[in-house]
């Protein structure tokens, strides 16, 4: 392999790897949107919270990673449940924008609470992943990124399968299609809402652990969620496959733009793609088009 090609391959792989991380985060958005039609911007902060919960369990209580990780994920789910019951359900029937802004406010509350609990200093998570470099032939792949890819490779198909075959997943899909009809079919719609929030927030918390392991944690790390939001808009707000493919595409494009144009072009390329995507396919590559009525 020529040097140039090798470099390109490595950059692309690294891009796909961080794209995988975006995909997992995007999944949290999609799950919640699919069931409840809420764009939950607080996913970003749940992500941050996941990192901190892991930090508290692993560094604070000295628990081993295999206990700390599930604890943090469950913690994220619990926060999701509380939030759904506490502030989202009373907003049922309000405009999408209002609920969106509620999640924005919620995000701010969570950041403040994290700052009060853990302080504002950035921190490093204890090492819990292998640090052995991975070489595919001559191609180097950062181990943490490889792990992110592996996790995405497991989690995304898992969600696809769950949606298709598991009862709860079917209920979720039914609710997504038509709330009233699902309700009249005896589906526990509020239950489905809670479930979606729990799974969504747990996913976000899991993504937060991965993210924290790579870049450390800080109350401001939720900004990452904005990039994931771009992914879901490009991929389609209600499409699991869209989250996967959107994440990989954005990850790849960011890596290539960052390498060949310069790091300052990463964000602007992402948002440029977003605008183009909105103009060409307003409901994303795989999203469902909403029909307007008079």
């Amino acid at each position: 392999m020529s040097d140039e090609l090798l470099f390109f391959t490595e950059v692309s792989l690294a891009g796909l790897g961080s794209g995988a991380l975006l995909s997992i985060t995007a999944l949290a958005f999609v799950l919640i949107y699919k069931a409840t039609r809420v764009i939950n911007l607080a996913v970003s902060e749940i992500l941050m919270l996941g990192g901190y919960l892991f930090f508290a369990a692993a560094a604070g209580f000295g628990l081993p990673a295999w206990i700390a990780i599930p604890l943090a994920i469950i913690g994220g789910g619990i926060v999701g449940a509380i939030v759904e019951r506490g502030v989202i359900r009373p907003m049922l029937g309000e405009s999408a924008i209002s609920v969106f802004m509620v999640t924005v406010g919620l995000g701010s509350v969570l950041v403040g609470l994290a700052e009060l609990t853990w302080g504002t200093d950035p921190r490093t998570l204890p090492e819990f992943m292998s640090n052995t470099p991975i070489f595919l032939g001559d191609v180097y792949l950062s181990p943490k990124i490889a792990i992110a890819m592996a996790v995405a490779a497991v989690v995304v198909p898992l969600f696809l399968l769950l949606f298709r075959f598991w009862r709860g997943g079917v209920a979720l899909r039914a609710t997504a299609t038509d709330q009233a009809a699902a309700y009249s079919c005896g589906i526990n719609v509020p239950g489905v809402f809670s479930l979606a929030w729990i799974i969504g927030c747990a996913t976000a918390a899991g993504a937060g652990i991965l993210l924290g392991a790579i870049g450390g944690i800080s109350p401001a790390m939720g900004v990452f969620g904005l990039s994931a939001l771009v992914v879901v808009i490009v991929g389609g707000l209600d499409s699991v496959a869209g989250a996967l493919i959107g994440g990989l595409v954005i990850g790849l494009v960011e890596a290539l733009a960052g390498t060949y144009l310069g790091g300052e072009f990463k964000m602007v390329t992402t948002f440029g793609i977003l605008i183009v995507a909105l103009m060409i396919r307003p409901y994303g590559l795989f999203g469902t088009t909403e029909i307007e009525r008079l």
């Binding site: 969106f100 406010g105 701010s108 700052e115 504002t120 948002f271 909105l278």
Partner: protein
């Protein structure tokens, strides 16, 4: 209890202030605004100027989001465009203060129309996200168009002069900012007693029906973007004269959320809402400062709690108002007003 006043003519019934009580309140407000700079110390005068700028910007955002129903998270970026316009004009051209402000408004209006173009295809949250994208792209321009914006280090401004008088201190700026903002608020109030304002509200309430009733949607959405950005641009211009330095980091994304929060808390779709929201949201963090100061003898490290507490309160206000008082503070004020209208004959 006040008896409904008989109107002499339709034009008096179309006026903004229709009752003596309203005139009286307006008079009190005007007196307070006149007396304020003589009574306030440096700190409060600084806040008064900041509040004035924020009121102008929030009123602009309210036109777009509150009245037209187009959610924008790009208000900070629009203000930045205005601030940069003022800075560049002053540095390179040397045009006078008022001209610069108007130019800032005009240019920002054009940028606003461009940013509003996706409303051709998308609306609601998708549009909100498009405005986020636009603000990041604008930020990129501010950082990288070195020759114009001086890159990351930004532009410093000389103090403005207003008909020969230098506007150096907050005391001076107050006398210029308050009338400008008052005019802007008056303009917004006027707008909503004409066909254009009605068209905006119609688009917000039922956009498709509005079209059938003869309102070209895209044109009016873009017009709303233009007017709202015009306001943001002027507010940004005032901001530039106030702080006298403009950098890409002067208008972070959180500022956009701040303004959206201000109109949510104040009341979307009412002129009063934009005003009280901006005043309230600007002053709450400062009031928390006093709260923390007061608590410091009792709470260890109270000083380090201020910032997180502000973050929590900021979020909680957004959530709280949306859940419990979606119409905002303006509605609370109306309720109090109605109460006194009927007083002493309570329901």
């Amino acid at each position: 209890m006040r008896i409904a006043t008989a109107k002499q003519s339709y034009s008096s019934d179309e006026a903004l202030l229709r009752t003596n009580t309203q005139w009286a309140w307006m008079g009190i407000l005007a007196l307070a605004l006149l007396a304020a700079p003589f009574l306030l110390d440096g700190y409060w005068l600084y806040l008064a100027c900041l509040v004035t700028i924020n009121v102008a910007s929030a009123t602009g955002l309210n036109i777009l989001t509150g009245f037209t129903g187009l959610v924008s998270l790009g208000q900070a970026a629009f203000m930045a465009v205005g601030a940069y316009t003022v800075a560049v004009l002053q540095r390179d051209v040397g045009t006078p203060f008022l001209f610069n402000l108007l130019a800032a408004g005009a240019l920002t209006a054009i940028v606003g129309v461009l940013v509003g173009l996706p409303s051709l295809r998308v609306k609601g949250l998708y549009l909100a996200i498009a405005t986020i994208a636009a603000s990041f792209i604008l930020h990129f321009v501010f950082v990288n168009w070195q020759s114009l914006t001086n890159g990351p280090s930004g532009i410093s401004l000389e103090p403005a002069t207003f008909f020969g008088a230098p506007l150096t201190s907050n005391f001076h700026l107050y006398w210029v900012f308050v009338p400008i903002t008052a005019l802007m608020v008056l303009g917004a109030a006027n707008l909503f007693r004409t066909r254009i304002g009605r068209a905006f509200i119609a688009i917000r309430d039922r956009d498709i029906s509005a079209e059938v009733l003869g309102i070209p949607l895209l044109r009016y959405k873009l017009l709303s973007f233009a007017i709202s950005s015009f306001y943001a641009g002027i507010a940004g211009g005032m901001w530039a004269y106030f702080f006298r330095v403009v950098t890409p980091e002067s208008f972070p994304f959180i500022t956009s959320i701040f303004f959206l929060a201000a109109i949510i808390v104040g009341g979307m779709g009412t002129i009063l809402g934009g005003i009280v929201g901006a005043v309230f949201m600007t002053l709450v963090p400062e009031l928390l400062r006093f709260l923390v100061e007061w608590a410091s003898p009792f709470v260890p490290n109270a000083g380090t709690l201020l910032s997180p507490v502000r973050t929590v309160v900021f979020g909680a206000l957004i959530v709280g108002f949306l859940v419990f008082e979606p119409q905002g503070m303006a509605e609370i004020i109306q309720r109090i007003r109605r109460f006194f209208h009927l007083w002493p004959f309570r329901k």
